[in-house]
Symmetry: C2
Subunit: 299 residues, 2 copies
Amino acid sequence: MSILVVGSVALDTVKTPFGKRKEILGGSATYFSVSASFFSPVNLVAVVGNDFPAKHINFFKRKGIDLKGLSVKKGKTFRWEGEYGWDFGDPKTIATHLNVLSEFNPYIPQEYRNSKYVFLANIDPKLQIKVLNRMANPRLVASDTMNYWIRERRRDLIKLLKKVNIFLLNESEAKQLTGEASLPRAAKAILKIGPRTVIIKKGEHGSLLFSGNSVFSTPAYLLESIFDPTGAGDTFAGGLMGYLATQKTVNKEVLRKAVVYGSVMATFAVEDFSLNRLASIGKADIAKRIKKFKALTRF
Amino acid sequence: MSILVVGSVALDTVKTPFGKRKEILGGSATYFSVSASFFSPVNLVAVVGNDFPAKHINFFKRKGIDLKGLSVKKGKTFRWEGEYGWDFGDPKTIATHLNVLSEFNPYIPQEYRNSKYVFLANIDPKLQIKVLNRMANPRLVASDTMNYWIRERRRDLIKLLKKVNIFLLNESEAKQLTGEASLPRAAKAILKIGPRTVIIKKGEHGSLLFSGNSVFSTPAYLLESIFDPTGAGDTFAGGLMGYLATQKTVNKEVLRKAVVYGSVMATFAVEDFSLNRLASIGKADIAKRIKKFKALTRF
């Protein structure tokens, strides 16, 4: 079943201890779409400027991503510049130029409104709510956010959380949103607000899935070297939602497997700059790594 | 089968965000012994001063720990004072008074020399080697260390590593010892020195087991609140070795289970100051938590 995703498509300038790349393909909806496309059809809702390179459009098309919802506006594409240190934790943001994203008014083509799976990537919660209100009858809605919205749009974010089924956020965001230092307590507090399921992403330390009274803790797949962590969280979400959209029901067992698929997809995102590694893999590579992940964690 | 452990028995003064306790029972061999005693007989080799409270001696005895190797010397017991912040990472050491530990010359009673399982807790590698040389024919030798010995006794530590089967250390120590920023690479470098198995402890992020080409990654058991992390690593080692000593063979599957037992034992250590929580549990509590750990991690 097809997944609708709304979020950013960007040109990133990224510096890591291994090198620097200028104006490479990035953005939350980009990583999500490409990752999910290995599992399910994806409908992309986003905006780019008329400077957006045609090669990236062709890349989306090759991945079978539907672009009817991708608006091309006069002006420049959203640009982000960031730098990672050796710990590959939260990057230092050098510059953010919203450009055409500053007036983003998501256009949802008529045929997208019946999408059963919806992913609201990290954008203003006001826009996330707006998109959600336009959907006919989604079966499963997941959303992501960031520290900025938790601080500046807390009320809208809380309103959104009452409408989503799965909320994904990282460790520091969970603590920031709830004021709880302990992740199990933070998750409990978020579950009380509304979502049935909360997923806390811990980067190289894996992730935690809280769903009702059930908790699933999974380590990260072990990579000898992380190259560029940009997009790991959105790629995780893409694997998660992509897998869920192939399943008849979403129960606790299915959710656990979806988290493993998300974790494995994220490992491909971080092995090279931009989506270079994701662009070069096939389904067999994913299956192989899922198998290795099982071997890594079973006892 | 019985386990010989050599290490420190201490009186700790510990400050955490939850409170402060003065001169409470601590030390690497203490945590190890009590943890291992739930699985196997333990022979303790350590030194205390004649100020060491009788109630602690009685506690060891109640746990069935053999004390023939515990020397009581004229003078004061080893004291350590440390403070933890909210992240419960490496503590800040406020004071270290070696006292009788400064002239520790481990006495190995004749009947201990045939112990098949040996744990060399964190003491000077020179002493760890000395103890090992006195053992008749151990089947399995594990050792721990700390940043100080990596810096000050690197040559002796390397010599020791060629003689041990399992080497346990934490994340920052693994990086310090090898100069590798990636844990899989650090583990490979340590395996090349000698031990067949390396276990890297990552605190609240779980642990990694490297044994030949096999890698096992396990998250930490999820606690709503950590109270005092002192002794978690030695309690982990106690559960690990305690479990191994009950097994006929040590293969990769058995090692994985041993890591899970170690992880679960460590959760009891951190739930209260000193060994308070470990003193109050029974085998049924351990079995219950092992079951919960399985539920937390299977998919």
